[in-house]
Amino acid sequence: MEIIELIDGCRKWHKKAQNELYDKYAPRLFAVSLRYVADRDLARDVLQEALIKIYKNIGSFTLTDDKAFYCWMHRITVNTALNHLRKDLKNKLNTEIQNFENEISNDTYEESFSVYDEIIACIGSRALFTMVGELPDGYRTVFNLYVVEGFSHKEIAEQLDITINTSKTQLFKARKMLMSKINGIVKNNTLKEVV
């Protein structure tokens, strides 16, 4: 079914179109949901809520471009996940604001990035996805919003109702933790296993 037919069918609440939309997009959206909400049950709830919103409001989507349509659904899923997280995320994020620059020198920090080019490519997406999922809620959320969605710290601060410094700190911590996880894999020679 063409994307135009699919959207049109969903607008008219045709079950076949709704079914096809689910089959086509639910796996990708579930991955998005899991990226923000580590808990699988909660991620399932997020996806369910997001899908209901999508089906209900698909009438308001006027374009027929596949990418735009996915972007729209992606955005709804991210916002729904953030709504779930937002309740207690602020407390978690504001509790520890430390200057991590003191703990690790900038040189070491920057040098360390250059090592990971090939490693990350070898690790593969699944393993990386798991690693990101293992990050604490605050780190993971800011990391996802900044790195994957491309939001600025200002936007993240506005969305999560936190300060810009908190956002920066969380990102710094997230990167550091992710690096240490990757280091751990390399050191333990478990890269092959992971891959």
């Binding site: 607008r11 609440w13 079950k15 709704q18 079914n19 689910y22 639910a26 796996p27 990708r28 579930f30 991955a31 899991l34 990226r35 699988r40 399932r44 996806l47 369910q48 899908l51 209901i52 919103k53 089906y55 209900k56 409001n57 009438g59 308001s60 006027t62 374009l63 471009d65 990418k67 735009a68 972007c71 729209w72 992606h74 955005r75 709804i76 916002n79 920057e110 040098e111 990035f113 250059s114 990971y116 080019d117 990350i120 490519a121 593969g124 997406s125 699944r126 990386l128 996805f129 990101v132 900044y146 790195v147 994957v148 969605e149 491309g150 600025s152 200002k154 936007e155 990167r175 992710l178």
Partner: protein, 537 residues
């Protein structure tokens, strides 16, 4: 050159962006279960109009059926009961009805046996007494002798009984009537000071005494009684009852034998429907935003305010059928609701709905994302157009429009425009009113079916700060149907017997909005006032 951090981020992003994970199988069932429920409620919502219409038709049917049943009652009933004790207040309606029923019941009894009952002064029931009176009068033909005897005896005891009951008009009727068929009875002085009804009873007595079987024809004012002579007892009883019941209050003081018939008091139970036609004009005083954007649009952050604008009027004509305090109203009205919309965020220019070829292009990238800007040379001045809707996802920019010959709009930072919706509406209402002399107050409520016949204005669409405008005409289909419910209080003043001036503050709330396939909706919740004039046929 990219910093190592950026490079690291991009590597991770590339890895994470296209992952697919199969959701748990039960999720699909849950989602579609919820969707089925939503579809059901959607169905109910869509058909609520018809359900309400059906309900209104049923109410109207019951109302008109009851009305026709009461106005079309048989002539016998209409001629018969004209109780002087009937008062204009509602509370007496039940009494009147009760009396009517009792009379009918008593008619079934035989005359002869009832002659014996004429001595039963202890009756507290009005109708039994009336029955006695009637039987005695009309039954004189058959039982004249025994009746006389009875009556003589009764006359003797009457004062004693009447002493105890002299304020009981009905019992007096009984006593006096009993003596009527006998010898002329002298009216006791104590009766003379009794109330109005007592005088009436006296008249009955007099006429009764004057009416010997042979001289009935000469008696004035009681011809109807005389005519009954040849009728069956039951028929005669009926006439007699009607005549007796007509008499109270109708005696000419100068000639007690002459019964004067003033206009019969109107029995409101049988009052026909009163029809009137009204014309009214109204205006909203408070109005909630008319144009509603789709719900749950998480990706859009519109910020605009709507205020009531002029005109937001209704003007119509209606027909009212009223009966006592209740009334039913149906009409047709023209309605036009207008709102003024202001926004700080939406960048639009609804005036330039044209197609242009772009003469320049640039891309602006900032921390908030990126957007394409196109230049358009107008009067030798390059003007900036926001024509391409860009979407920032995963740090790449996706064009959602064809950039050639697309619709373009000027950038307006503080747009303001007016939306108006024109309807032909069918208001139906039932109401209750109470009159204080010339002043009536009441309340009415009912549905208003609205048929959209025209729109004017725009509706914003798209992203924050990059919105474009659709005309309302392109969004809303003509002749879409909406449903509202209104409740109004009424104050009206009768300036003469046929013309009434009305003033009605009202509140109308939206039941079924007029929505578009894009998710926009028009809802009208408003508070207003109408003034009008009503003419009674």
């Amino acid at each position: 050159m990219k910093s190592p951090e950026k490079n690291f981020d991009e590597l991770i992003k590339q890895q994470l962006s296209d992952i697919e994970i199969q959701p748990p199988a039960p999720l699909k069932k849950q989602v579609f279960g919820k969707l089925a429920m939503l579809a059901f409620f959607r169905y109910i919502k869509r058909n609520s109009l018809f359900v309400l219409l059906l309900l209104m038709i049923s109410v109207l049917g019951i109302f008109s059926y009851n009305a026709s049943r009461e106005t079309g009652s048989d002539p016998k009933e209409n001629n018969g009961y004209k109780s002087s004790s009937y008062k204009t207040d509602n509370e007496n309606d039940n009494t009147a009805a009760q009396k009517n029923q009792d009379i009918t019941f008593d008619e079934k009894k035989s005359d002869a046996t009832h002659n014996e009952n004429t001595t039963h002064n202890s009756n507290s029931n009005t109708n039994n007494n009336t029955q006695d009176l009637a039987d005695n009068t009309t039954g004189s033909e058959k039982n004249i002798q025994p009746e006389t005897e009875h009556s003589a005896a009764k006359t003797a005891v009457a004062p004693a009984i009447n002493n105890s009951q002299k304020r009981h008009d009905d019992n007096l009727t009984s006593n006096l009537a009993t003596s009527a068929s006998g010898t002329p009875t002298e009216i006791l002085p104590e009766y003379e000071n009794n109330d109005h009804t007592q005088g009436n009873n006296l008249a009955i007595n007099k006429s009764g005494t004057a009416l010997q079987e042979t001289s009935n024809a000469a008696a004035s004012g009681v011809q109807e009684i005389n005519k009954t002579t040849g009728y069956s007892p039951n028929v005669r009883t009926e006439f007699a009852i009607s005549e007796m019941l007509t008499l109270p209050g109708l005696i000419d003081t100068e000639n007690s034998l002459k019964v004067s018939y003033p206009p019969a008091p109107v029995n409101k139970m049988r009052q026909p429907l009163s029809w009137s036609v009204g014309m009214n004009i109204g205006h909203s005083l408070l109005q909630y935003p008319l144009t509603r954007l789709p719900e749950n649009r998480d990706d859009d952050t519109y910020s605009y305010s709507s205020t009531l604008y002029y005109p937001s009027i209704t003007a119509g004509i209606d027909i009212r059928a009223e009966k006592r305090h209740l009334f039913f109203e149906a009409g047709v009205q023209y309605a036009r609701f207008t709102e003024n919309i202001k926004s700080d965020n939406v960048l639009i220019n609804p005036q330039n709905h044209q197609f242009y070829n772009f003469t320049g292009q640039t891309m602006n990238v900032d921390t908030g994302g990126g957007s394409y800007h196109y230049f358009w040379i107008c009067d030798s001045v390059p003007r900036l157009l926001d024509s391409v809707w860009t979407w920032k996802i995963d740090t790449t920019y996706l064009n959602l429009y064809d950039t050639v010959n697309t619709k373009v709009y000027d950038t307006l930072h503080h747009p303001e425009w007016r939306n108006s919706y024109t309807f032909i509406e069918l208001p139906l209402s039932v109401g209750w009113q109470y009159n204080f002399g010339k002043l009536n107050v009441g309340i009415k409520t009912g549905p208003i079916m609205s048929l959209l016949v025209g729109t004017k204005g725009f509706v914003p669409s798209g992203r924050n700060e990059q919105a474009y405008m659709n005309t309302l005409d392109s969004e809303f289909k003509k002749f879409s149907m909406g449903l509202s419910w209104h409740i109004a209080t009424m104050v009206s003043y009768l300036i003469n017997e046929r013309i009434l001036l009305e003033c009605q503050p009202y509140y109308r709330m939206n039941l079924k909005s007029i929505s578009t396939s894009s998710g926009y909706a028009m809802k009208n919740n408003s508070l207003g006032i109408t003034v009008g004039v009503r003419y009674f046929f």
